[in-house]
Symmetry: D2
Subunit: 430 residues, 4 copies
């Protein structure tokens, strides 16, 4: 036991009357919601990187956090793991996620990186024997190191492609060893800074080949989790290939991967792409590629990825509505790819940020379930499209339809879209 979180108790559910900051007001893991325990619906996950590896820097300032595990030795890495699992225990979260670079110091070579990752994987495996916290997903950090500055899979230099591919292999191996339920690819450097030096067509083909290799290798080693791509329109790159769900889907279709790969959708990235979170979720669900979510919001007044913990129950509720309507999570879950603000220096801040985020999600998901169980929204929607149930239009051609419109004098009157009424309806539940 480290003493980082020394006086902080395990967080338990106390209900909305509680004014205890270190308790859940909405998140009762054992509550039944739509036929499952709430814990099994939400499937919360802590992100290793923001909470344990990020020093608090931003483009105009350096480290703000003082953490005893900051340093580049394996001992530091293990102390970090110890603290992480203590936080998992305090929060009672069922899952966590990590990149290779979060958990091991950077080595001087691929071989050294691999050895260190293996050592940490074994260390995690040992800790997980006595922890309830499982691995939601693993991933490879292919954006921090300078070798990736011009892309990993889409780098103009095939040696970088090779280094990246080799690295993904090791991360998939680690994820598999730890029983990870998904493997995620986020391509922060898979894009460009300027079109002037970029062969967009070639880079897209290399990305397609790369993803195909990942899918094949996962099958080869018997990894049964989902392979997920996380869309983001820009930042760090000026423009990224995995812009949004629609764009990634076009890529999957081109490379025949639409049945092999699903989406990990982040609220903040949806916002940066000009969409709402619920749009991206609904689109992915309609395309059959909804996998998992990163439940961290962007500040609406900031033009970059702020990765904040969720605070708005109404916003979260409409997101979970799409998730539950699509059947709920299978391998996926609710990952907090969220960081405390760089001014939130205290160990307590780290705990309270998660407590607050978990409570907001719990309240949101319960509201979403209530809306679905009521069924009012779905009834109103079905009614709006009811004309199609008996229409024969989709079997006709343009000329036949034109002939019919003229003959029957079809001249439709518009009907109210009832938006405000529907918004009021939603507000009964959130």
């Amino acid at each position: 036991m480290t003493d980082f979180f020394k006086d902080i108790p395990e967080i338990v559910y106390e209900g909305t009357d509680s004014s205890n900051e270190f308790a859940f007001r909405h998140y009762d893991p054992d509550a039944q919601v739509m036929g499952k325990r709430l814990e099994d619906q939400l499937r919360f996950s802590v992100a290793y990187w923001h909470s344990f590896a990020w020093p608090g820097g931003d483009p105009f300032g350096g480290q703000t956090f003082d953490r005893p595990w900051f340093g580049d030795t394996m001992d530091h890495a293990k102390m970090k793991a110890d603290v992480a699992f203590e936080m998992f225990r305090i929060l009672g979260v069922p899952f966590f996620c990590f990149h290779d670079a979060d958990v091991r110091p950077e080595g001087d070579s691929f071989a050294e990186n691999t050895a260190r990752l293996q050592e940490m994987t074994d260390y995690f495996a040992q800790k997980m024997e006595t922890s309830k916290t499982k691995l939601l997903w693993g991933t490879a950090n292919m954006f921090t190191h300078r070798r990736y500055m011009a892309g990993a899979a889409t780098n103009p230099d095939p040696d970088v492609f090779a280094f990246a591919a080799a690295t993904v292999k090791t991360c998939l191996d680690a994820t598999h060893q730890l029983g990870g339920q998904n493997y995620v690819l986020w391509g922060g450097r898979e894009g460009y800074e300027t079109l002037l030096n970029t062969d967009l067509k070639k880079e897209r083909e290399h990305a397609g080949r790369f993803l195909t290799m990942v899918v094949d290798y996962a099958k080869k080693i018997g990894f049964e989790g989902a392979i997920l791509v996380e869309p983001k329109p820009q930042e760090p790159s000026k423009h990224q290939y995995d812009y949004d769900v629609g764009t990634v889907y076009s890529f999957l279709k081109d490379f025949g991967l639409e049945n092999e790969v699903k989406m990990n959708i982040e609220q903040g990235h949806a916002i940066l792409a000009g969409h709402s979170f619920e749009h991206e979720l609904a689109l992915a669900a309609s395309l059959g590629i909804l996998g998992s979510i990163d439940m961290n919001r962007n500040d609406y007044q900031s033009g970059w990825d702020t990765d904040q913990f969720p605070v708005s129950v109404p916003e979260v509720a409409v997101a979970y509505y799409e998730v539950l309507k699509a059947g709920g999570f299978t391998t996926g879950g609710t990952n907090f790819d969220a960081k405390i603000r760089r001014q939130s220096l205290d160990p307590e801040d780290l705990i309270l940020a998660h407590v607050g985020g978990m409570d907001v999600c719990a309240a949101g998901l319960k509201a979403a379930a209530a809306m679905l169980e009521d069924g009012g929204l779905e009834r109103m929607r079905d009614e709006r499209y009811a004309g199609w149930d008996t229409s024969d239009l989709l079997g006709m051609d343009l000329a036949a339809i034109a002939e019919k419109v003229e003959r029957e004098g079809i001249n439709p009157e518009p009907r109210s879209g009832r938006q405000e009424r529907l918004e009021n309806w939603v507000n009964r539940f959130v």
Copy 2:
């Protein structure tokens, strides 16, 4: 002859030393550029709607323009056509474009609309016998009338779908009769105001069926032009299905239309979607679906579609670079889907806006051609990717690559992306 443009002469090329406002300084239609006359490279087109049908309103104000042809009779419609063809003659443009609703008054029924469109099509056909100006594309306005407020192809009411389909048939017929080189679909109402009342999956399927019918009907009547979709992310709808090139491509792939349909890409719409114009062009070219362009810019400080005439030669040059690199226009062209500001009240403003836009495009395309003929950019790009020419990576699997990286100790050093150097290079030409 109307006397609307009474004292305005035909615009001729006078060169950059001219200070005559009513002359071209860069656009010499007969100049040879990359093996074609400049007129045949640029293929300029005037948009009927903005210049002749738009009254100057905006969300906070009404009509500002006083035009003798404003009114809802067929005589008004013909006077409008007369003035339009006079402007085409003054500008010497080889093309124009129109929606049905631009050229005929709205009727009380589909049949009346059709008859009026037919009468105006005949009137155009007659005028085109003595005009050099051809039809670049026709299209159906399925966004202004209240029947379309909740969508045309994607309307919850099948009767609206039918009315829209019938209308497209008549517009395709008119386009075909007039020898139009393309037919365009822009879906300003094919989207939603709120997800709460929207069945995204169903609407997408209806849109797919609709587009398939259009493609089939074009074939059936022997229309040999291109079918083009014009992406736009939002406005008028909160969210539109044809968000951007990548999203439309995913749609085409899903409905097997990627070899049947191309893109009409507008600068302003690219900006609204968070892209640069050249990005959308380069992406479409790399996917083989670059068709035509709408060369009208958005104000970078405004969050809506301002549809302004182009003014920046450097911006236009990098766009034409992508067009020329992709082989130049075949059926497509440079359409000014641009409107003069609502304060630009005088007939002269209408002419000068086009003169300025044509000159900017001419200067831009010549700069683009010079860049391509120099070849410096392509050489620098090829050099950057040269490692792939001899690489065997794409044939290997992850495990083999990992083994190779470890065995060979691959540890790549990044190389400069040279962005500023390339930007300087471009500035030699623009």
Copy 3:
């Protein structure tokens, strides 16, 4: 009595257990909140223009609403007033607001406009004798008519300045006659489309002179209400002089009006300017110029003014927190400068939109009051700044401070900003 809202009953408070769409769930006008009736805290107001004068058009589509009072006769105007007061009665709102152009048909001259406005003012006065609904504010529409296309007070043509000034006189007279509690100026055309034709310095001076005249005239006629300016950064103009609260304050200071004029702050305009609503409120409060609010939101994904009814209790709560902390409304109130979506065709939609908005505001204000009464936030804030209570720094000069820092070895350690903790605290109340 018209029969427009025929079957719709007066809306009464039924509490959160009610599932009656035509009832308030949170708005109990007689509930006591911070020493006042809730009705007297919120001071709801209906905006005449959006609900009764707007036909449903947008930049890409025309009229969607069919209203029996649409037309340009005085009879139409009176029918419109009748329907409006019926809606006020149904909703039980204590206030409304109007522009001259909302309530009377446009005349052919200033004299005719004045006469018509007078006739309608008398008509309103008569209706108000039997209505509980008072006038929150009046204003002049100086943006719709084409004469104002290049500005009203800031028009390059002094005749337009004169027409605008004369018009404001008549609107102030009408507001005064009706006992209006405020008079508002929003300058949608007081800005520019292009700097190229704009004399920014001259236009700013004319605006200053204009506002001074308004203040003087209000005093002269004994109008005791507040004069309010409503900031908005852009739209309809590319750039407007009343960009945001900070910018308007600089203008007031320059013309010595900072004690004469206050702000009417709209949520949507705050968002368009890159601020949060609560920022603009807090800034205005700190400058002593917080007057009234327009409680209508913008869609975060749309780059233009969508003027939607509020739906988010958490958002509304932090706004009312600033209002209540500043002492609550005096002459100001909560105006819904909000329009139903153009697809919301039915009379019921108009009522339900207001019911929903009022309920959201009621819930939000009650949450804000609870936060203030708890006092936790203020205590935590005071504690954060407590060091200043005993500091002598503000009386020293740079050299003395430098000497002190060196002598005392001052080397401050940062303290946690506790953002997530504070956000959690807020979530206990909303």
Copy 4:
């Protein structure tokens, strides 16, 4: 002499026919423009921080640049200075700018920081004896160190205020010793992350007191340069008090500093605030507070500060038009607060970025001068406002104007704003 730029020659003017990358095509320092040498009009300045202190990191990646002077000893600091002055010589720039933190390693105390800054100031003074390059401005970095994470002048902790004030004293002393022509304050941390923990009124007062102290101390030591504030709306903070020119002006007015302090305006910051660069320049000029410029652009598709070198002559030309119209620079100049992209690894990239930026500015300023000398724009503008020259309106009150409008039947017709015509006119020069 270091050998960092070993084979790179001094850059000389060769004219537009040159294809030498290491030559100026537009910047001939000795060319006469509007009565001054071009060098004396443009007054170019290199920013020490981006070119010599920034390691190439971004929010998702670490150091990319390998520089022999990276390190935290005074020897490293002096090697950095040596390389910097070599670059100044190669480019022939007349000015540079620096923060304290750019030029000396961070010490453990205020005293150590001061001593190190003094040592480097002396080192600079010595180098400047044999260099043509002077100091345009100095400034204090009060945003990178963690002590400033919650603000410098606006920090809740008075000790941080004191540390900041003491630091500014030392930086003003250094600037004065080196003959700096301006002193700049940019408040990247003077703002907030969340209103919840912020006392906006108190922070604003402390900022006012701080700025007053700076002005007083500058006078006390006989510093005759200008005190400049650099506005920026956000980043790193969510919201910064020095949002834009209008907002800063309101602050200056409140604290009686409008005649003591001027603006340092950056293109990228103007864009982030929703303005054009030329707007901010024109506004500052009209308020008499235009001081100096940071000539680095933002990418229009990125929502954060990209600080790129200028590439667009048309954009730069309209900016210099405002500068020249206001009389040109006095103490101010053209500072490149610009950084090469993090992928631009080579010494050559650093030189070429500046060469390109200087050439773009030279071409732009020459175009601006030609426009001013032609006078066409000013004539058209004067004509547009000519009615005011003989108007007596500004001396009348509302009632008198209304009486006059009614009596004279004033009913103004709008006149064309001629935007496209003016844009075409500009395009003759750029």
